[in-house]
Symmetry: C2
Subunit: 509 residues, 2 copies
């Protein structure tokens, strides 16, 4: 009985009367601040001073050449680039304040601009875990299943690299990964920045599958990558190459310095933001030097370490404060930006939920355009949990629901219903309720609101156990999107076969 | 090893270098809105229309007499009071916009006003649960232990009736309950509104224990009660009596209509707020008619039911929306106000944490002055969990930490540290970090940030299991506050003995 209910909820075999649209969200909240405007201007000024006086190490010669051509002082032996503030400010200003990321269908299109809101699931983990199969290194099967789970939920608008498929050799991994994204989902795909060869392969697969010419692709963003600087003050070869390649192909990079206060960043929130902002400015500058006007997202992922052990911590007040400060810096630039939820728990328990909620609320109140790691991220990113993906989706869907309007007209104010129901009575059967009850409230994904007796009789299952049944049902119900036609898949497979025979594309160093 | 660390954290046997002050908090965030100003004015106008045209049933003759004397139309046979809007608006305007609630020492004093922030732990539950002793009806031992747990945490500023001590007969329960609050804590005590006899007993115990004259007590709030209306549109005898008694003794009532949308309130957010606001206005009016200028808090506790089963739900988007709307109404009145977190889970799992976080963030962003049920509340209030109290305290402390300032001066911006650490290096040992590392970050109460291998070796304990060790250690380390001297306790016990021999004070109907 319980299982049937779970399955129905999850798989939508019996559709709800309630219609939701979580595909193009606007953040309903006023962005919150942590610093005064003067303090934000001060952090920005210090970041510019860092780039100008202390410089940033750029390992890719082509990137140094671009900086040099723009007027930066470059010291080739040390690979250091000293970027004057005029160069940074004039160049960053050419980045668009708004652009559309295109999915396979217009319903999946997504505006990237201050004020829009989108979510990504937990990404980048070497391991994956679920209650049925345990904790294990990620494989293509897990990538496939996680893509199918994401496809089920409109409140996750972009695909992300959930786990690393370690059963596919690195020079062929991007084929398998891109194939799954295109065939199992119609959402916006992620492309790794692991060298030009892999990026160009992925662009070609994407353009062919979506029926786009090269010019179509260059003219309109259809995918994205994530660029992590090597904090402090360093951009490595694949990251610099990715910034250049994606900009030149009209596809956005999400620039994300990963600054853990006390480890790769100063121990203070303001100090970590000075560093993160400096690195983000340098990376955004590089995109615009490669292709003026290229789409790009500002971003940061700043939290702290446990100073007793050096372990990364998430869901801390320092992370929330850094998120709020990053939002202020993003709004000063006027650019869409990425922030993150996070959790360092080892199991999907109260700590895990607490840390993800705290950090996700921080990102939401900070006005982030994209909130990554919003569902499933465990162990500070060392694993993705199927069950946590499901239980976190409750949070994501509640946040998406908060973006919907709340009527306050005469009908919503319900004076007639209040007149109909006597003092001490109830509203269960009144006309106002009967007209609205089937669509009035958010329908939970995983919450069990039965009382203790009923819940105990049904097996006293905790949220993680219930979530297992939910993800199993979603996978059982999964069907490929309409865009993934047999012809397109066959053509895609032919391309992959050809490129595999040609030796694939090894990742760059 | 693990146990020692837990114990040290919890019991502060080895004090941290970090000093926090969570005793008098100011909400750092701009209150968020859900309705336009016109919509808020419209809800207020409809609430006034409800009171004037539909009326409210008031079961206590003395309360009806007060309303009648103020000019309201009263129909004695039906016990209905029809309150004109001029009476309501003029009378509510006499409630103070700010007042101080006094603890046993000035350090425990608490300002109640828009913009201040305080927390209460989960309250009002018939049952209590922990992993050592299971789920059971509440007893005085549980009341005592929960009071000791609350005393340990500065971020909980007010005492609350955690569980109902069912091992003490109702006519003596208030003695035992008040005794525990006064002897185990120096925070602001809660007094039940269960008839004048019990309230006067509690006031006398409080005044004697704190060394106050009757006039001292009347002149300065030293305790509070919570008043739930009997929605829809009804105020019962003990609640009306409480509003009158507390106002006349200068002690605040926290007025809290409990409006579940679709059950005792309309199915819409705006409709539920019309009802909740009308009831709150009527109750606040009664306090001011009993004693003009008496301290009082506005409040609401509005969530929804599951329309499939009628079960109460918490942590829903509808609850968050109602909280935001309530905040707008409170600010329109200018009064301090109470909101609540909540959770309907049956165990301290990811659902429980999620629902409490969602609703607590809603209350925080709504600008609530007091957030009740912030720690330990389970099963929609049918039980309080020792473990959930601990894991929720992590959330409460993080929220308290967000109220602290975040420096952004030159030292915090850390330019010199950024200069000291080379590209790709780390900040663990730099001077800037060394000067600050022992106090830089919030120290977690229950989070385990060790990696999966270490965590597994230590027994793979989830947050609830770790929380058990934490609450046990806190109880083991508890000492009575300095204010609870032997003489005062002896005098208190003598009073209780005398009143017990006199027959105690049965609760009113």
């Amino acid at each position: 009985m319980r299982k049937t209910r779970s399955g129905r909820r999850a798989g939508q075999a019996q559709p709800s009367a309630r219609r939701t649209n979580y595909r193009q969200l606007k953040n309903p909240f006023t962005p919150q601040t942590i610093f005064s405007d003067d303090e934000v201007a001060g952090i920005h000024a210090t970041s510019l001073k860092v780039l100008e006086e202390l410089g940033i190490k750029v390992l890719l010669p082509e990137a140094r050449a671009l900086f040099k051509a723009a007027g930066a002082r470059v010291d080739e032996p040390s690979q250091m680039v000293y970027l004057g503030r005029e160069i940074v400010e004039a160049t960053v200003a050419t980045a668009p304040r708004s652009f559309i990321l295109h999915g396979a269908t217009p319903e999946r299109d997504l505006e990237m601009a201050l004020g829009t809101l989108s979510f990504q699931s937990g990404a980048g983990a070497p391991n994956v875990t679920d209650l049925k199969r345990g904790r294990r290194p990620g494989t293509m099967r897990d990538v496939t299943e996680l893509t199918q789970l994401v496809q089920r939920f409109d409140a996750i608008q972009m695909l992300s690299p959930g786990v690393e498929p370690q059963d596919v050799p690195p020079h062929l991994r991007h084929y398998a990964f891109t194939r799954v994204q295109l065939t199992e989902s119609d959402k916006i795909p992620f492309v790794f920045s692991r060298g030009t060869g892999q990026a160009l392969d992925a662009f070609e697969m994407l353009a062919d599958f979506r029926g786009l010419t090269d010019d179509d692709l260059r003219g309109r963003p259809h995918c994205y990558t994530i660029i992590n600087t090597n904090s402090p003050r360093q951009i490595d070869i694949p990251m610099a190459q990715g910034l250049i390649d994606f900009a030149r192909h009209g596809q956005p990079s999400i620039v994300t310095p990963f600054c853990l206060m006390g480890a790769m960043a100063p121990v203070t929130v303001a100090g970590a933001l000075v560093l993160s902002h400096a690195e983000a400015l340098a990376a955004i500058t590089l995109t615009q030097l490669a292709q003026s006007g290229a789409p790009v997202l500002y971003g940061s992922f700043s939290s702290n370490v446990d100073m007793k052990s050096g372990a990364p911590a998430f869901g801390t007040p320092e992370q929330v404060k850094a998120s709020l400060g990053t939002g202020q810096l993003a709004r000063m630039l006027g650019l869409p930006w990425r922030n993150a939820a996070g959790c360092a728990a080892n199991i999907n328990d109260a700590q895990a939920a607490h840390e993800t909620e705290i950090s996700a609320w921080g990102a939401l109140m900070a006005g982030a355009t994209v909130i990554i790691h919003a569902a499933g991220w465990l162990e500070g990113g060392l694993s993705v949990s199927y069950e946590k993906f499901i239980t976190d989706m409750e949070m994501v869907q509640v946040m998406a629901e908060l973006c919907t309007p709340t009527p306050a007209d005469a009908a919503a104010q319900a004076f007639e219903a209040l007149k109909e129901v006597p003092p001490g009575g109830h509203f269960f059967g009144c006309a106002h309720t009967m007209e609205r009850f089937s669509t009035a409230f958010y329908e939970p994904l995983i919450a069990d609101w039965s009382n203790f007796g009923t819940w105990s009789e049904r097996g006293a299952q905790d949220a993680s156990t219930r979530a297992t049944a939910t993800w199993e049902q979603i996978l059982a119900d999964h069907t490929r999107p309409a865009a993934a036609t047999g012809d397109r898949i066959a053509a895609l497979d032919a391309f992959i076969d050809k490129r595999t025979q040609e030796g694939g594309a090894p990742p760059s160093d």
